[in-house]
Subunit: 209 residues, 2 copies
C-alpha cells in the first residue's frame, strides 16, 4: 500500500492540472525531460513526415515513457499528454511574441482549426501494455475585429498557448463553437483518460478523491 | 461616471459567475425574484406549449426584466440567463434527489441531449432595444456502468444541476463530446454575450477587467 496518488501526470501544464482537479481526480505530477524536437526529428527520419495528430501522440508517448523510466510505486499509472493545433493542414505551437500572436489571430478570425491532444498511459507494473489515443476537437472561431485582436494580444494571454488562444479565458468570447471534447482543447480529454484506464482494468471513479 | 460594473448578471448561478470571471469580465450580480412556474404558465396560456429553447429564452428575459426594473446607474447592462436540458424532446430540470439523479443517468448513458441557454440583455438606458438569443449545444454522453452511476450519484454533484450532470466536474469523464458552445453547457455562451453587446454598440473588450 502506498499513499502516493496512483495517477502521475507527466506534465507541468497548468491547464491539464486544472482539468484533472476539476474532474475530481487524485494525481501527482512529474515533469518529463524530453527533447521534443529531437523526438520528432527521429520519427520523421524513420517514418517520414508526421501529421499534427501523429505528432501529438508521439510526444505524449515520449513524455510518458520518459517519466515511467524512473522509479515509481507498483501500480503507478503515468499519463503523458501533448497538444498540437492544426490550421489549414499546418501545425502551430505557442506564439511567444505579440507580433506572432497578432499575425496568428488575423488567420484565426472566422476560421476553423483542430486541436489534437495525444494521450499515452503506462502502468509501470505492466509497461508492455501501454496504450494511447488522440482526441481531435474542431474549433470554430468568430470573426473578430482588429481592435479585439489588439486588446487580446495586449492582454498577454495568448503568448504561452498552443494555437495562440485560451478557450477557458478571454478568448472564450471569440470561440463560437466546437465539435468534439471540450477539455481536450485545454489539453486533456477526460473521457479518453477514462477509456484508457478502463482498458487497464481501472475505473476512473477509483481515482476520485 | 460610475465605479459600479456596467454588466449586471441577473443570476446567482455559481457556474455563470465562474464563466464571466474566467472570461475576464468586470460584472456585478443581482438575483432576480421571478416565479418561473408562473411565467411559464402565463406564456403557455397565451402562446401554447413552449419548447425547451423557448422556455430558456422566456425565463432569461423574465429574469433580466425583473432586475432591470430596479434602479441602476445609466448605461447598466442587465444580462438574464436560463438553461434547460432537453432529452428526447422533454425538458429536464435539477434532479434534487439521488433517486431521480440515478434514474436520469440510466437515461443519459450512451444518449445525446441538448443544453439550451437563453440570454437576454437590457441596456437600462435604452430598454426598448433589449435583445436575446438562445444557444443550443448538443451533448454526447459516454456509455457508463451502473457502478459509475452509483459513484457519481453518491458524490452529490449532479443533484443541483439542470440535466443532472456537470461537464466541468466529475462528469467530464462521462461526456464524450459536444457540438456547439462549451460555456453554454455550464449556463452562459460568452460568444453570444459578445454578439448581444456588439449589437448594443459595446465591444466586450471594454468590459475586460
Amino acid at each position: 500500500m502506498t499513499t502516493a496518488p496512483r495517477l502521475l501526470l507527466a506534465s507541468a501544464s497548468w491547464g491539464r492540472k486544472k482539468i484533472l482537479s476539476e474532474a475530481g481526480l487524485d494525481f501527482g505530477t512529474q515533469v518529463s525531460s524530453v527533447d521534443e524536437d529531437l523526438v520528432l526529428a527521429e520519427a520523421e527520419a524513420t517514418h517520414g513526415s508526421q501529421s499534427p495528430a501523429q505528432t501529438a501522440l508521439l510526444l505524449a508517448r515520449a513524455k510518458a515513457e520518459n517519466v515511467a523510466s524512473h522509479e515509481h510505486p507498483a501500480g503507478t499509472l503515468v499519463l503523458g499528454c501533448d497538444s498540437v493545433f492544426e490550421l489549414n493542414g499546418m501545425a502551430y505551437g505557442k506564439p511567444h511574441t505579440t507580433a506572432v500572436a497578432r499575425e496568428r489571430w488575423h488567420q484565426l478570425s472566422g476560421a476553423t482549426g483542430i486541436l489534437h491532444s495525444g494521450h499515452w498511459l503506462i502502468d509501470v507494473s505492466n509497461p508492455q501494455e501501454a496504450r494511447g489515443e488522440v482526441s481531435s476537437t474542431i474549433v470554430h472561431f468568430a470573426t473578430v475585429s482588429p481592435a479585439e485582436i489588439e486588446a487580446y494580444v495586449a492582454s498577454g494571454e495568448p503568448l504561452p498557448c498552443a494555437g495562440a488562444f485560451t478557450i477557458d479565458g478571454l478568448a472564450s468570447a471569440f470561440i463560437h463553437s466546437i465539435e468534439g471534447n471540450y477539455q481536450n482543447v485545454v489539453g486533456l480529454d477526460v473521457s479518453v483518460l477514462r477509456k484508457l484506464l478502463d482498458q487497464n482494468g481501472t475505473a476512473i471513479t477509483e481515482l476520485w478523491k
